[in-house]
């Protein structure tokens, strides 16, 4: 039976996210926990589900084990359907060729056959690096309305930051006339979000010809978009105005978590019309003990708080023992904070155990990080900006 999908999404989830240091030493960046009960990849996957996109290929490469088991059948995002669903796509050997994904465009190129089987009209390219809520259906409607070959999602960044981004210079109609990668003197402040809608035939043709060019880096931003512009294809920009956070560094990941603690958070995760779905761990409600103190924090099911938690994010099944203080911190799932330990301006990764009286981070300065499964000795002191773990 030949299928006809309007739109298939391809999610690039193979990046290491090396600027996250110890946090991505054992897991791919999209699998990094965020906001108490989510992982970064929950955002693009939930956006797909909420946008009515039911077929998603997830391209993995770096340390994919945790990501694979997290995605599983795709049931948490309603992506376990027989007419589509979620597919994890690692690099595979093809006869004598067989190779790793060389770049973003090459990763899609290597999976053209996967897309082909759904015979889609459009292909949505996503990355697993950002926290945002986005209705891809609106973007797709924009693409269709403007009869574009490629639509690039853009957001306006402050002019002083513009030179750090790939910028889309457009005419009055929103048609892209020039693409500049991190220019010294920016002509616009429309930064590409790395979210693209391609008309399928165009994507297939340009990826195939790009692959034949030995000099190409096989990258959407560096190669595909400039080539399409030069060929006179119709490229349009689609403006996105919502919250959008790159969580590519320790600082930005911590910041994005702290954003959730403001009285009116810039991203509403309590939106019942646009839920962010996550794989559930099946924990009981969290317990605020008789002597515990919790202020201005997010606390997830399974937590037990016997100490003091101020302005922090506690993920599922975190234990904070008596006398411990957790302030301005992000504690990832299953971490245990020992008696009288003090955690300030820090990220404690999954399953870490902080010994009694240990001091992690400082009131000011850079964020301290304890890596996953790390056991911190009682009384240990980890200074601001330091990282500890394997």
């Amino acid at each position: 039976m030949q299928q006809h999908k309007t739109c298939v999404a391809m999610l690039l989830a193979g990046g290491q996210g090396s600027r996250l240091g110890i946090l991505t030493r054992h897991v791919a960046k999209p699998a990094v926990p965020y906001g108490g009960k989510y992982r970064i990849i929950d955002f693009p996957l939930s956006n797909c589900a909420n946008s009515g996109i039911d077929t998603v290929g997830v391209l993995t490469q770096y340390k994919p084990m945790e990501l694979n088991s997290y995605i599983g059948s795709g049931a948490p995002w309603d992506l376990d359907i027989s007419t589509g669903g979620v597919f994890v796509l690692p690099p595979y050997s093809k006869g004598e060729e067989g190779e790793w994904y060389k770049g973003t465009a090459n990763a899609i190129y290597q999976n053209l056959a996967f897309i082909e089987q759904f015979n889609p009209k459009y292909v949505l390219i996503l990355s697993g690096d950002h926290i945002y809520k986005c209705d891809y259906a609106e973007m797709l409607a924009h693409h269709i309305k403007h009869e574009a070959a490629l639509t690039v999602a853009v957001r306006q960044v402050p002019w002083e930051d513009a030179s750090r981004f790939g910028l889309m210079n457009t005419d009055e109609d929103g048609r892209i006339i020039e693409f500049e990668e991190k220019p010294k003197n920016p002509k616009s402040n429309n930064a590409s979000m790395g979210v693209y809608v391609f008309t399928w035939e165009k994507l297939r043709d340009y990826l195939t010809s790009d692959e034949r060019d030995p000099k190409s880096q096989n990258d959407f931003g560096k190669n595909i978009i400039p080539t399409m512009l030069n060929a006179g294809e119709r490229l349009v920009a689609w403006n996105f105005n919502g919250y959008w956070k790159d969580v590519g560094t320790i600082e930005s990941l911590w910041d994005a978590n702290m954003d959730l603690l403001s009285p009116t958070p810039p991203i509403n995760l309590h939106d019942r019309k646009w839920r962010i779905y996550a794989r559930n761990v099946g924990e009981p409600p969290h317990f605020a003990s008789p002597k515990g103190v919790i202020q201005n924090s997010l606390v997830t099911e399974g937590c037990e708080v016997y100490g003091k938690v101020v302005h922090s994010v506690l993920s599922a099944d975190v234990k904070v023992a008596e006398g411990a203080v957790v302030e301005d911190a992000v504690i990832m799932p299953h971490a245990k904070i020992g008696k009288n330990a003090v955690i300030r301006r820090a990220i404690i990764a999954e399953n870490a155990e902080i010994g009694e009286g240990a001091v992690i981070g400082e009131e000011t300065g850079d964020i301290a990080v304890v890596g996953s499964n790390t056991i911190v000795a009682p009384g240990y002191v980890l200074k601001a900006g330091e990282q500890l773990g394997e």
Binding site: P263, I276, P285, F287, A288, I294, N296, E301
Partner: protein, 373 residues
Amino acid sequence: MKQNIVGLIYTGERVDELQELTRYRNTAALPMVGRYRLIDFTLANMIHSGIKNIGIIMQKNYHSLMDHLGSGREWNLHGKRSGLTILPPFMSRENVGVYDGLLDALHNNMNFMRRSVERNIVVTDSNVLYQVDFRDMMNHHLDNKADITLLYTKDRNVRRNARGRYLQVEKDQVTKLEIDPTIPHFENTYVGAFIIRRELLIDLVDRAVASGQHHSSREMIAQMVSERIYRIGAFECPGRVWMIDSVESYYQCNMDFLNDKLRAQAFRDDKPVWTKLRDEMPARYMGDSLVTNTLVADGCLIEGTVENSILFRGVVVKPGAVIRNSIIMQDAVISRNAEVENCILDKQTTLREDVRLIAPRSYPLVVPKNLTI
């Protein structure tokens, strides 16, 4: 590992003492401990005992239970070789759709028992909360060479005057049975679960119904005890047992989960209790929130004071609001400066600003679903 046991849960208990709590739902669907329904604990017992096929006999007001269970996916009971079978009441020549107790319900669901392939069956009530490994009970049943084995507890918490079934147990054998005694003589209370060879149960139900006199399982078991034909084993349920048969016992059971030890009995890392998911964000503590000795589910927004209470998913506590010794169910809203003490607020109730709702400790007040005060 797959066990040779099929599970059957009877949800037809009529418990008038639960007042408004069971007006629109059956006992099995009672919201428990912040995010569960009572049946989740029974299902967890079965699932963690390796039971893969479970039938649920529905009786009345079963809409919320059906909604809760869905396809059984959250319990991993949606496979080809495993699954949940919902057995709603139906009309037949002998049956008007209302079961007169467990035996009648079993009789009307013989097809489920006949169609099952497992050698043994465990049949449970749904108004009791406990933790047991039915594999241990099965092994005891076999070692004891029993025909039927009843689950019992010595927990005094479940004793009731003029109500309940009490067992005299000698050498792991039930030798006497008391039904609804004014004052129970035996220290062992039947917990409402038994294991039996499936074909023997079919035979017993057939014969009991054919004799035309027996419509309750109480009488069936009483007859078995008095006839002395069968060997009736007894297996003691470890740990705490809660019988949910009144507003007070419902309230106390929930409050008991504020105790670290009792909570640890029910929620073990290796034996999660599954339930229907709601994909709520974590609970948010804001402003001058002050929360002590309280269980809080995801999706809550707390800006007020909460003591010795249980907050279900999506509860909103506005600034200045005070909640003490109360159970607040899903999506209830406690407005500014409202105060609630010793109450059970059902789902989607709203307390308006400055409203004070204070019940005596000994008699928790139930506020029905969707009510605004």
